[in-house]
């Protein structure tokens, strides 16, 4: 690991998290959701919005940072930035904030994502809508054939992987049910009070073989903000800091957005392997030191594949962890303890970072009984992505 990357270790911390209500119809603008979650993150940290001097979001977010800044009453801004690639941006926004804080470009940076993801523009509609602009030619290879949705793009990889390693629909169902069980205890989650049985799972309609309805994440209206400041300052604020031990973006050779079908590695996630290598190197930690995770979960098979990318299991053996209950609350790696994107809410992975922060604070609605020192978070699968390791101070 280069000196430049390890320089960021322990320099910054998550001091505040802010969430709106999650729903299928917010009835308010995305700016309103953004302002609400950013303000909530400031309140959570005990930092006045007037102290915010940095704003980071996704290129897909519809709201300009200066609009949010005016709405919450931020002061002078010295840092603002955007990250591309949908849910792949989640961790990337944190890296921007950490670099800004560590290099003195800004003191209090908020990263947010606010979307009317169900009542407004639905990501699940893929390129059948109008989200595409500059990369039309890339999508042109898929549109004419009817590959218009994220499910259609992911299914080709999932089917191949499942065939190669004997992963069954029941195994995907185990992932979906594990996360639904967490959601049952989370009042913010879509799955709150809605149990999911294996029978329900297997009976649900097929969408893109081998994926059925419950293999897909939610579509949600809501916002989520993460406030980053120096580790030093975070120690004086309202909550126990979630110190950023490791953070990186990752895109590997030959990658396409969601359709990396043309390289040799179809049974693994090269971007996640790169993200793992860099995040572990930067933090000086390995998979054995990770106590819980919030792995990006737009689709159930992605969880199984990431267990391998991040070194929790050998190639092709991630499924055994799922069958052994490793992802459950008393398991080796409690995962997406808020219900995740699958059963909680789909705020493009920002809400997974918020849950990882809660786990480090010891405040999850499904806090494992064991001590949680380090939590791993990943962002979008199949797109240029990243990984984040949070640590208790």
């Amino acid at each position: 690991m280069s000196l430049e990357a390890s320089f960021l270790k322990n320099k910054a911390a998550i001091a505040g998290i802010g969430l709106t209500e999650f729903s299928k119809h917010s009835g308010v603008s995305e700016l309103s959701l953004a302002a609400e979650c950013v303000y909530a993150a400031c309140e959570d940290a005990g930092i006045s919005p007037s102290e915010l001097d940095g704003f980071v979001s996704y290129t897909l977010d519809s709201t300009d940072e200066i609009e949010v800044a005016r709405a919450v009453g931020a002061g002078d801004l010295s840092f603002f930035s955007r990250i591309n690639y949908g849910g792949g941006a989640a961790v990337g926004t944190i890296l921007q904030a950490v670099m800004a804080v560590a290099t003195g470009q800004a003191s209090n940076v908020v990263c947010w994502r606010a979307m009317n993801g169900r009542s407004g523009q639905r990501m699940g509609q893929g390129v059948s809508g109008n989200i595409i602009s500059s990369d039309l030619i890339h999508w042109s290879w898929y549109m004419a054939y009817g590959m218009l949705t994220p499910g259609s793009w992911v299914a080709l990889i999932a089917n191949k992987y499942m065939d190669a390693y004997g992963v069954t629909r029941e195994d995907l169902g185990r992932v979906a049910i594990s996360q639904r069980n967490y959601a049952l205890n989370n009042p913010r989650a879509f799955g709150y009070g809605k149990p999911l049985s294996m029978e329900d799972y297997l009976a649900s309609k097929m969408i893109a073989d081998p994926l059925c309805l419950y293999d897909f994440c939610q579509e949600t209206d809501g916002g989520c903000a993460i406030l980053i400041t120096s580790a030093e300052r975070a120690r004086d604020l309202r909550h126990k800091p979630a110190v950023i031990r490791g953070v990186t973006q990752a895109s590997t050779r030959g990658q396409e957005q969601m359709t990396s079908y043309y390289r040799d590695e179809l049974l693994s996630l090269p971007e996640m392997e790169m993200a793992a290598r860099r995040a572990y190197d930067m933090s000086g930690l390995g998979p054995d030191a990770i106590d819980a995770a919030c792995l990006y979960d737009a689709f159930t098979p992605e969880i199984i594949m990431q267990l391998e990318s991040f070194g929790f299991a050998e190639q092709g053996e991630g499924v055994h962890m799922v069958r052994d209950g490793a992802l459950d609350i008393d398991g080796r790696l409690p995962n997406n303890t808020h219900g995740g994107l699958l059963s909680g809410a789909y705020i493009h992975g920002m809400n997974n970072i918020a849950e990882a922060t809660r786990l480090v604070r010891g405040e999850s609605c499904n806090q494992p009984a064991k001590s949680v020192e380090h939590v791993l978070v990943s962002s979008g699968v199949g797109v240029p992505t990243g990984a984040l390791i949070l640590g208790a101070d």
Partner: protein, 136 residues
């Protein structure tokens, strides 16, 4: 007129492929300097960085690398269930396409397939695949 499939937007880097399809051919881009084949097309060779390229016509023979059966949502202009395939061409490149003249339950990994040109009612042509040996 019934709804038709979404047409690919055409630009410098991909229009030639669809023009070949309209002529009944499956094209592959070939670097004119190092002769590396590449797909999907792009303006520079990732191996030698040459920008000169030409096209070769694929034999149309390949095997199934992966597949999915799309059932929902159903968009106008496509027939469901829609079998989407990843095909390893015998020339060595891989492409996404559609499998026709085959029931979803009869698709399998590694099955040999052959390209045929499908023509929509509106005259749009695109390369699709059929099980090898099937009457096209």
């Amino acid at each position: 007129m019934d709804a038709t499939r979404i047409k690919p937007p055409l630009g410098h880097d991909n229009a030639w492929w669809w023009e070949m399809a309209a002529e009944g051919k499956l094209g592959i881009q070939c670097c004119s300097q190092c002769q590396t084949l590449r797909h999907p097309p792009r303006p520079m060779c990732h191996v030698c960085n040459a920008t000169e390229w030409h096209t070769v016509e694929a034999s149309g023979k390949g095997t199934l690398c992966s597949f999915t059966v799309l059932r929902h949502p159903q968009f106008p202009g496509y027939e469901y269930p829609l079998i989407i395939v990843l095909v390893d061409l015998e020339e060595g490149t891989r492409l996404t396409s559609q499998l026709v003249d085959c029931e979803p339950e009869d698709v399998s990994f590694g099955m040999p397939v052959t390209m045929k040109i499908h023509e929509d009612a509106d005259g749009f042509k695109l390369p699709v695949f059929v099980p090898a040996g099937a009457v096209a």
